[in-house]
């Protein structure tokens, strides 16, 4: 009889320990079930799905970067072009480097091609919103965060976003900085 008892005891202890482990195994199991069945997905629940994206068409955006003569900076775009749906949130990067031996404050001014496309750029964040001060030799990457308005004309398949950096010091300027900086 003692062997029978200790045999049962061993089996039952194994079951109890196994069920303790099973309790923890329920955690990944739970997430897997939710993932497979699409229930309770954290991403979908926490972010409201953007119904403003027009997935029926693609628009190519080209990026361009220039500096005015009076500004000894190197200014370039980190990407030549991207394809997006109108309504989709887009983030791109530009890079500016001050090659001179002193700090300079610059201001970027956008322009659009064709010009009517400018009305459909909805910028949320842009380095062109404020003057940028670069120390001597400093190199900096700066973002532009925007949405192309889904109501954009259907015949616009390719648009260009171009920035030109001007020196804010009036003495250094060879061209006139516009009185009012367009924040468009």
């Amino acid at each position: 009889m003692p062997t029978g008892k200790s045999n049962t005891l061993t089996k039952l202890i194994v079951v109890a320990l196994g069920m303790f482990g099973f309790g923890f195994a329920l955690v990944p199991f739970y997430y897997k079930i939710c993932e497979v069945t699409g229930i309770n997905s954290g991403d979908e629940q926490s972010l409201v799905k953007n119904t403003q994206v027009d997935t029926s068409r693609w628009v190519t955006i080209e990026f361009d970067a220039n500096t005015n003569e009076g500004l000894p900076w190197q200014f370039k775009t980190m990407q030549r072009s991207i394809k997006v749906h109108p309504g989709q949130l887009v983030q791109v990067e530009y890079e500016a480097a001050n090659n001179s031996d002193h700090a300079i404050v610059g201001q970027a001014v956008p322009s659009y091609g064709p010009a009517r496309a400018g009305a459909f750029f909805r910028k949320i964040e842009c380095f062109c919103f404020t003057p940028q001060k670069l120390a001597a030799g400093e190199r900096r990457q700066m973002p532009v965060l925007f949405v192309l308005d889904p109501s954009m004309d259907k015949d616009l398949h390719t648009v260009t976003l171009s920035y030109t950096f001007f020196n804010t010091d009036p003495k250094a300027q060879t061209a006139t900085l516009p009185e009012k900086v367009p924040h468009g």
Binding site: M1, L12, V15, M19, G23, L26
Partner: protein
Amino acid sequence: MSDAAHAHDDHGHHAHPTGIMRWLTTTNHKDIGSLYLWFSLIMLFTAGSMALLIRSELFEPGMQLMHPDFFNQLTTMHGLIMIFGVIMPAFTGFANWQVPLMIGAPDMAFPRMNNWSFWLLPVAGIMLLGSFWLPGGAVAGGWTMYPPLFIQGGVSYDLTILAIHIMGLSSIMGSINIITTILNMRAPGLTLMKMPMFVWTWLITAYLLIATMPVLAGAVTMLLTDRNFGTHFFNAAGGGDPVMFQHIFWFFGHPEVYILILPAFGIISQIIPTFSRKPLFGYASMVYATASIAILSFTVWAHHMFAVGMPVAAQLFFMFSTMLIAVPTGVKVFNWVATMWKGSLTFETPMLFAIAFVCLFTIGGFSGLVLAMAPVDIQLQDTYYVVAHFHYVLVSGALFSIFAGIYYWLPKWTGHMYNETLGKTHFWLSVIGMNIVFFPMHFLGLAGMPRRIPDYALQFTEFNQIATVGAFIFGFSQLIFLVLVLKTIKGGAKASDQVWEGAQGLEWTVPSPAPYHTFETAPVVK
């Protein structure tokens, strides 16, 4: 039976420790059974007093007696103690006393582990009750321990989690003992399908405990590490999911519901045949029904959480699987009724409690079916309808079966007959009081009164006042029970060995009171 001879050497020929040491060191199944039952009775009065405080505050709308946070502590502790400190220990006490007597074994399989199983309980009880005096008071987040509340509370929340660990350990050890005893120590000739129903229900309950208690231990361990060690199982701020706790908790919690009621089915299945003077109707179907309920109980947990936002397919699955449990439960109820049919019935106190059990448990079962319907549950979730439902199954179900079992076996344990007049007075006051408390709660719930609130809207006043009056009748009539038990232990008419005319089974073949050591030589069952 070398075990029996050994046990006899230990206890028979050496001096017993006396006083407190006798009880602290005892390995005798009858002593430990009594300890469990006394512990349960003390906790019944403790948690019952909390219920009376709750009902007093709810006698009128507005805040009269206590701070709302203390009210929340009372509802939480009332639930935790009634479940883990009253119902479960009482059934384990019955198992300790009766399982060896009913299967002809000299003691439990592991007597020393049995001692540990019991003595862990008072430790956990002190941790739970002591937390009332800690900064911030006892836990107030509800007995279901849902995060985020349970992740946010003070030090008593940690203490409660540890108390749950200890009680779980105690339950698991007790269950291992019961299963090993039943599987290995039955008298020769007592095959599984000849076992008394009480033994069967406890065998299945013990398996449920071993399968689910560790899951609860895992869930509260995750709460503990979320609280103290920077994990984020349930903390949404760290990417966790509080709803996952509900899934894990109810994976334990629903089988737990049947842990609280299957032994009750067993006790009732012993008592009704005795006082009907007929064998139990449909014994085999009773065994299979019990097993089906246990297996199905693992597939229904999410009916406790219809309101969390489940897909319709999941709601339908849990709704139908829940209703499926009504089938084996119905088999049991009909079998009890069929056992009484054309029996020569007498209505001693155990039988009265058993009949009340069948009627009132069925009401609780029906309100459970109402709640099982997902669209209805969305309305009734967290209202007094739920409170009414689970008190019908736990008070007039589990608790009444415990009273029935005590009245039934007390003469065997003490050697004295209890006072029948006192017993019947206790029964009638309890059954009337219980219905006055809990029946109006159905109406309150249907009218929309939420549970776990210390204050309520004016239109709920009358039914709440009725319930409070009933609670005091029900609560104070339990003092009669206490007096009756103490009187029966002290003296009373001598009980015969068989005690009840229609009683069948091995426990009625030993003298009354049952000697300290029984079945040292195994009886033979034909």
